[in-house]
């Protein structure tokens, strides 16, 4: 009879400093370089792992494959020139970058955004969340060997991208929220088409529920994988669905209400088991919440009205010295912009806080110990890592 429990008798013991004593000469250990591209994530990041058999003893992350130096590039661009470039930081959901850059600049420059523009921004951010979750579910399925899920959800995501195209003209990068407002309001007939899309997505999610969340292979592999202790949440900087999976109801939309979220009615999805399966379930319920939110927004969003505040000539726009921090809830957790201005026409410094920064480096290096090699990709995917947030 084969025991499914790993043999712990040969597991390396910890030394006085708490580090495992690893005798590389013994031939029991091998080093493996996983990445930079693997099914665990959108984006490039590698793991340098030390493995014994098929169990990971130790891992080091290597990031920087997608570093473009945005924070430096934005320092030599005017405020309005930062607006088209900042969306390129995060491909899965670029709109949070536009919104946060605009929000920090508006706060520092003292601009009031019209009501219709706030509704429009809320709609765009929720649509962005929807398409990002759909892409993520596909990735989660593929990293556990269920490629079919990706075929369905990426197709459904394309429908959302088509709706984006109707409003903004772009599929991935929309650049629709310049500082001061939005570029346009809803096109004609948008409500009906968006409602149809939402109905389709709900239908797809029913199929995904059957094919992924009730799939015994997926359940066996993901239940118990990647446990995050609720006590770790604050100390390790865990935010978003990863924290909510651990039973801590932390959602920027509820806690620090921005845009029109205080006027909308929604519940924050919280899990309690804090493993990969719970996190996936939290994300699935969050996706359905988003569908519901978009329906509410579509009912209340105005069709006409002022949508752009009066902004000074952007070519000569100087913002007085100051600094501020704004945050928003993206699919991966707390996304934030820290903007410092110095009275000139250029920002002094813009620092982007991506949620993957804390999830993918220190937390992952801690969590990946003792994980089976085949589950490493699934674990990274369940943290919803997106490397360009780390290196920008």
């Amino acid at each position: 009879m084969i025991s499914l429990k790993p043999d712990r008798s040969k597991f390396p013991v910890a030394g006085d400093d708490g580090q495992l004593i690893i005798d590389r000469e013994s031939g029991q250990f091998s080093e493996l370089f996983l990445g930079p591209v693997h099914p665990g994530m959108t984006g490039n990041m590698s793991l340098e792992m030390l493995i014994q058999g098929d169990e990971i003893m130790k891992a080091k992350t290597h990031v920087g494959y997608l570093h473009r130096g945005f924070e430096k590039l934005m320092e030599r661009r005017r405020f309005i020139q930062c607006f088209p470039i900042c969306v390129r930081i995060a491909v899965p959901e670029p709109d949070f970058n536009e919104y946060l850059l605009a929000a920090t600049i508006e706060e520092l420059a003292g601009i009031e955004v019209p009501d219709a523009a706030l509704w429009m921004r809320t709609l765009l951010l929720e649509m962005s969340r929807l398409q990002s979750y759909l892409a993520w579910i596909g990735g989660q399925g593929s990293s556990f060997g269920l490629g079919l899920i990706g075929q369905w959800t990426i197709w459904a995501r394309d429908l959302v991208l088509d709706r984006f195209e109707e409003i903004t003209g772009g599929r991935i990068y929309h650049m629709h929220m310049p500082p001061g407002g939005v570029r346009s309001l809803l096109p004609e007939g948008f409500r009906r088409r968006m409602t149809d899309t939402l109905d389709t997505i709900e239908q797809v999610m029913k199929d995904v529920d059957k094919a992924l969340f009730q799939n015994s292979v997926y359940k066996t592999r993901s239940v118990g994988l990647g446990y995050i202790d609720p006590a770790m949440v604050d100390r390790w900087g865990v935010t978003g669905p990863n924290a909510r999976g651990a039973g801590i109801a932390r959602d920027v939309r509820k806690d620090y209400p921005y845009l029109k979220y205080p006027e909308l009615d929604f519940e924050v999805a919280v899990g309690k088991d804090s493993d990969a399966y719970t996190r996936a379930d939290v994300r699935r319920r969050d996706l359905l919440t988003t569908v519901d939110l978009i329906r509410q927004i579509l009912e209340r969003i105005p069709d006409s009205g002022e949508f752009m505040a009066k902004v000074p000539n952007v070519l000569h726009w100087k913002i007085p010295r100051g600094e501020t921090y704004k945050r928003a809830e993206c699919t991966r957790g707390e996304y934030g912009y820290y903007t410092v201005t110095d009275g000139s026409g250029y920002p002094r410094r813009i620092n982007v806080r991506g949620p993957s920064y804390t999830h993918a480096v220190t937390l992952l290096e801690k969590m990946i110990v003792n994980v089976n090699l085949a589950d490493a990709a699934g674990l990274m995917s369940s943290l919803h890592t997106y490397p360009p947030e780390i290196e920008r």
Partner: protein, 179 residues
């Protein structure tokens, strides 16, 4: 918020308080007292979440500004602790014992700004940049990224870049002498 600052003032000298929003305050403390102020905020005032740790280069004043943004998830408040350190002797006490994630931020600051945090784990390993990087820390303001790029990466001829303000002025009002 005022109570938190009053309690903090009893142990730490606060040089400057600037209220940005109701839930966001920036305070300036000295380099020597920064870590004790942060520890006080974390342990006594419940600011348990380190949001960002970043630096701002004030080249003209010869200073680096380190910003530790702390968040109190229960009361939903933020405090930005600003520390001014000397640009020539860029060194700061490490806070990786308070938050493990701070080690990553400090590695980034070491690489991108050249600020040293003695004792922080894996501080001198390359983090983001390529191992062959031989330029100065790139986020410092005296590093000219355009010049470096033009000298290194074979720019394709034919591309021109204009300052938008100057360009629009010269296109719209060519008769005005641009001073």
């Amino acid at each position: 918020m005022q109570q938190i600052l009053d309690a903090l003032k009893q142990s730490v000298m606060i040089e400057d308080v600037r209220k940005q929003r109701d839930d966001l305050v920036f305070i300036t403390v000295s380099e020597a007292q920064a870590v004790s102020a942060i520890t006080h905020l974390r342990d006594r005032a419940n600011f348990t979440h380190l949001v960002i740790l970043t630096a701002v280069d004030w080249l003209e004043e010869g200073l680096f500004q380190l910003t530790y943004l702390l968040n109190n998830p229960a009361e939903k408040k933020d405090i930005g602790v600003r520390v001014m350190i000397d640009r020539e002797k860029a060194q700061m006490e490490s806070i990786h014992h308070l938050w493990p994630a701070a080690a990553t931020y400090q590695r980034e600051l070491r690489e991108m700004f050249g600020i040293s945090f003695p004792g922080s784990p894996r501080l001198n390993e390359t983090f983001i940049l390529d191992e062959g990087w031989d330029g100065p820390p790139p986020y410092r303001r005296d590093f000219d990224t355009l010049k470096y790029s033009e000298e290194t990466y074979f720019p394709r001829p034919g591309r021109s870049t204009n300052d938008p303000a100057e360009y629009m002025k010269s296109m719209l009002y060519p008769e005005v002498d641009n001073d």
